[in-house]
Amino acid sequence: MRQSESERTRRFDALFAAYSPDIVAYCGWRAPSASDAQDAVADVFLTAWRRLDQLPEGDAARVWLYATARRVIANQRRSSRRRVALQERLALEAPSRPQEPLSPNRKETLVHAALRGLGPRDREVLLLAEWEGLSPAQIAAVLGCLTVTARGRLHRARRRFQAVFEALLAREENAQPRREAAVRPRTTTQAS
């Protein structure tokens, strides 16, 4: 049954108020740039507005928005592959910049490096769970696969993330003493 205009507007407002932070966050880490993310958010909610009568209620609406955002970003990627390739190359170069001592921020850099070390499918399923807080059933609905498949992918992605992160961390911690030794002042060979 078609909703009245005021009902549509009210529902859309409620939808936007409830879920725009989720979709902004998701597009933020999925889209290749901030402006692409904003365009994707706009596309998602425009699609939602046009298809409001068919949108499910409750949590399913949130999942529908994630699934739509995923498709919008896939379309963006297809249409701007060269630009994405450049950005991905720049992103991969980021870890080779000079490194600060290990700090919470440094750990965060390692998190991002570890995420880049995962395959795109692992990264996506992991972040849908850890950053977006989706359950395996909801992830399955977003990805269009069985819940049991999503659960399996998530399990593998978690294991791989942990392995990559720990390897990066160990390398970082091993590099620390050498860096400290290199900058220690020499006290035995002072010129007279």
Partner: protein
């Protein structure tokens, strides 16, 4: 470093907890406004005004075509659209299964009915909200009270002599009977979680699609009884097959190889409304239906006021 430390670091890196995230949301609202305005939609929604302008609006001019493409993409293969073939009907049922699973993750209501020659033979209404469940079984005999089972915050309550009684933890209630609270929930989640639907969709033969007046679509075909009444057991020394929610499959349905008629009704919103299975002859006609409603919107059951503690029936020590 242990596992929790690496995942704590991952969670701390979530962009939502970073400075500037709220501004990104505001910027997203700006972009949505710009997009909808440029779409020239006279019915465009008036989003609530943001508090302050912090971030510029990205160019959205070229994205109308993309939005149209997304809309078209989403429309392809939607249930019942333009007389889809069997392949797209299977895909539509599977898509509905995924969407329904997500809707039912938090809460919902399932009404199970078995009829024999059009008379209600047995039934249960199950409402769930997270791990809390309330199940109300129809009376087995006229004049009797129906069975009541309630699980709230890890405590099971039953009705005895018209009063609520604390029965203990869910694990302690008739384990292996197929009717423990955990098994009810598992049955609900299996049906609603897409497993049953996918099993039916993957194995159904002669799948047909029928649009109903209310905008929903009925997908029908035949399916092996063993895929629906999957559990086996014994009753009175005889092997039986059991439907989800603990009901014995009679006549043809007891034969796993028999083909039963199954209809899955998917609402206009893409959510499964009902699974209906029919079998038998005009002299002995059976139906088994599970109807879902209020997925994601069923309120949590409340614990009963002043329940009696479970009477201690152990021998006096």
């Amino acid at each position: 470093m242990n596992k929790s430390e690496s995942f704590q670091a991952l969670r701390r890196a979530n962009p939502r907890v970073k400075d500037g995230f709220a501004q990104s949301v505001e910027a997203g609202a700006d972009a949505v406004r710009a997009q909808i305005a440029s779409a020239g939609d006279a019915r465009a929604p008036k989003l609530r005004p943001r508090r302050s302008r912090l971030v510029g609006v990205s160019a959205a001019g070229a994205s109308l075509a993309a939005a149209a493409a997304v809309t078209a993409f989403l429309t392809v293969g939607s249930p019942g659209g333009g007389g889809p073939g069997v392949e797209s009907a299977v895909a539509a049922v599977q898509r509905a299964a995924s969407l329904t699973a997500a809707s039912a993750e938090r809460s919902g209501t399932a009404v199970v009915r078995i009829t024999h020659n059009s008379e209600v033979w047995a039934g249960t209404t199950v409402r769930w909200h997270g791990r809390d469940v309330r199940s109300h079984g129809l009376p087995r005999r006229p004049g009797r009270a129906g069975s009541e089972l309630l699980v709230v915050d890890g405590m099971v309550y039953g009705v005895e002599d018209g009063r609520w009684v604390e029965l203990g933890s869910p694990e302690s209630i008739d384990p292996g009977s197929g009717t423990t609270p955990d098994e009810y929930l598992a049955a609900v989640r299996e049906d609603i979680g897409g497993v049953t639907l996918r099993r039916i969709a993957d194995s159904v033969s002669g799948l047909t699609t029928r649009r109903l007046d209310d905008g929903s679509t009925a997908y029908g075909g035949t399916v092996a009884a063993g895929l629906i009444a999957r559990e086996s057991g014994f009753k009175g020394g005889q092997p039986i097959r059991v439907f989800p929610f603990g009901y014995v499959a009679h006549d043809e349905a007891a034969n796993p190889a028999a083909h039963l008629d199954a209809v899955i009704t998917v609402g206009a919103d893409g959510i499964v409304r009902e699974i209906a299975v029919t079998w038998g002859t005009s002299a002995s006609a059976w139906t088994y239906t599970v109807t879902y409603s209020r997925l994601g919107a069923t309120s949590a059951p409340a614990a009963p006021a002043n329940p009696r503690p479970f009477p201690d029936r152990s021998p006096a020590g």
